[in-house]
C-alpha cells in the first residue's frame, strides 16, 4: 500500500485542520472549565448539580450531539463552529471535574492553617490550592485532549473538516486506505499528546 503524493499532502492538510479544531475546542473548554471548577469548589451543592448536568451531556452519543446542534441558530449550522461547540461540551466535563476534585482534595489541615496564619482567600487559592491541585487539573486536560482528538473525527459528518473527512469518505467508498489515512494520524496525535502532557504533569507535580 503506497501513499501517493496527493494523499500525503491531503493528510498533512487535514491533520493540521484537525489540530486547529482540537486546539480551539480545548482552549475554550479549559478557559471555561478551570475558572468554573475553582468557583464551584467552594459551593458543594452547586458543584454537584453542575457536574451532573455535565455528566448528562457526556452521555449523549457524539454523532447525536452534533446533530442536535445543527438546527440551533447562531451556534448551529454546517461547519467548524458547530463542531467546536460540541467538542467544547465534551471536553468541559473532565477539566471541570478534575479542577473541582483537585481543589477539594487539598488537605483540610493545610487549608485551615493557611487561613489561620492570616492568608487572604485569594492568596490561599494562588499559593496553596492551585499549586496543589495542578497535577489533577492537568490530568483532566490530558484526558480531555485524548478524547477530543478521537471525537473530532466525527466533526466531518457536519462539515467540520479534520481527519474524519478521510474516514467518512473511506467508509462510503469501502476504501481501507482512506480510512487508515484518517485513523492512523488521529491515533498518533492522541498517543503523542497523551505522552507529552503526561510528561509535563510529572514535571510540574508539587514536591
Amino acid at each position: 500500500m503506497l501513499i501517493s503524493p496527493r494523499l500525503a499532502s491531503e493528510m498533512v492538510e487535514l491533520t493540521l485542520d484537525h489540530l486547529v479544531l482540537v486546539g480551539i475546542s480545548l482552549a475554550l473548554a479549559a478557559a471555561a472549565g478551570i475558572p468554573l471548577g475553582i468557583l464551584l469548589a467552594r459551593r458543594v451543592s452547586a458543584g454537584r448539580w453542575v457536574l451532573s448536568v455535565a455528566n448528562v451531556v457526556q452521555t449523549v452519543p457524539s454523532l447525536a450531539l452534533f446533530g442536535f446542534l445543527l438546527p440551533i441558530p447562531l451556534i448551529g449550522g454546517i461547519g467548524k463552529q458547530t463542531a467546536i461547540v460540541a467538542l467544547v461540551l465534551y471536553a468541559l466535563l473532565p477539566i471541570l471535574r478534575n479542577t473541582l476534585v483537585g481543589i477539594q482534595g487539598v488537605d483540610r489541615a493545610v487549608r485551615e492553617s493557611a487561613v489561620a496564619m492570616g492568608m487572604e482567600s485569594r492568596q490561599v487559592l494562588w499559593h496553596v490550592e492551585l499549586p496543589l491541585a495542578l497535577r489533577t487539573i492537568l490530568a483532566g486536560v490530558r484526558l480531555a485532549t485524548v478524547t477530543t482528538i478521537g471525537t473530532a473525527t466525527i466533526a466531518a459528518a457536519i462539515g467540520g473538516g479534520g481527519l474524519g473527512v478521510f474516514i467518512f469518505r473511506g467508509v462510503a467508498a469501502v476504501d481501507t486506505t482512506q480510512i487508515l489515512a484518517g485513523a492512523a494520524p488521529a491515533a498518533a496525535l492522541a498517543l503523542l499528546s497523551d505522552g507529552g502532557l503526561g510528561w509535563i504533569e510529572r514535571k510540574l507535580s508539587p514536591a
Partner: protein
Amino acid sequence: MTAPIVSFRNVSYRIGRRPVLDGVSFDVERGETLVLLGRSGSGKTTALKLINGLIHPTEGDVRVEGRSTRDWDAVRLKRHIGYVIQDVGLFPHWTVARNVGLVPGLEGWDRRRTGEKVGELLERMGLPPGEFGERYPRELSGGQRQRVGVARALAGDPPLLLFDEPFGALDPVTRFEAQRLFLELRRSLHKTAVFVTHDVREALRLASRIALLANGRLEAIAPPLEFRRGETAEAREFLACLEPKEEEC
C-alpha cells in the same frame, strides 16, 4: 498592661440547635499558659477557633486585646495570633524555610530580615537551618514537622499562640521532648498560650492554669496544684487517669 489578652464573656456557640459551647466566661492573662482540658466534643477546639476569628460566637463576646473579635479585621486578627494544630498543615510544596517564613512574607518583611528570623527560629527548635531549611515537609519525621509548625506560628512574633492538641499524634517519647521544648520556649519568649488537650498529664505539666470543659460548659478553672484536689466530678474522672493501674487516657 494588666488587662487580659483574651476574655470570653458569656460565650455560646451553637451548630443548629446543638450547643457546642454554652455560656462560657473566662480570661486569659498575659504571659500565662491556659490549658483547655476536656473530652472529645467538650468544645475546646471551638473555643480556640473563636479566639482567632475562624468562627464567631452565637451569643456573647470574645475579646482579644480588649476588642471584640467581630470588630477586628479578620486577617489582622489571625496574623496577631500564632496557631498550631495536630495535623500541622505545613504546605507540602514549600520548603521548611519557606513554610516558616510564611507570615513574614505576608507581612512584607524584606528577604534578609525574614531569612534571619527563619534561621533563628529553626535553630531554636533544634533544626539547624543549614540541614533542614531546604527540605520538604515529607522529608521530616512527625516530631520535626510539629517543631516546624511551632516555628511557623512564632515567625510573625505574635503575642498570643493557640495550640490545638499539637502533640496528640506523636509517640510518647517524642511528645515528652516536645513538651520540654514548649516549657523552654515559654521561659525564654514570654508568650501567652492557650493550649487544648485531652491529656491530663500534659495539662498538669504545661499549664499555668487549667480550664476544664465538659459538654460545652466551663467546669473549673484553677492552677495545676489546685486542680489536683479534684473539686468537681469531671476533674476527678480526669485525675483518675493518673493512677498507675488505669489504662492510658
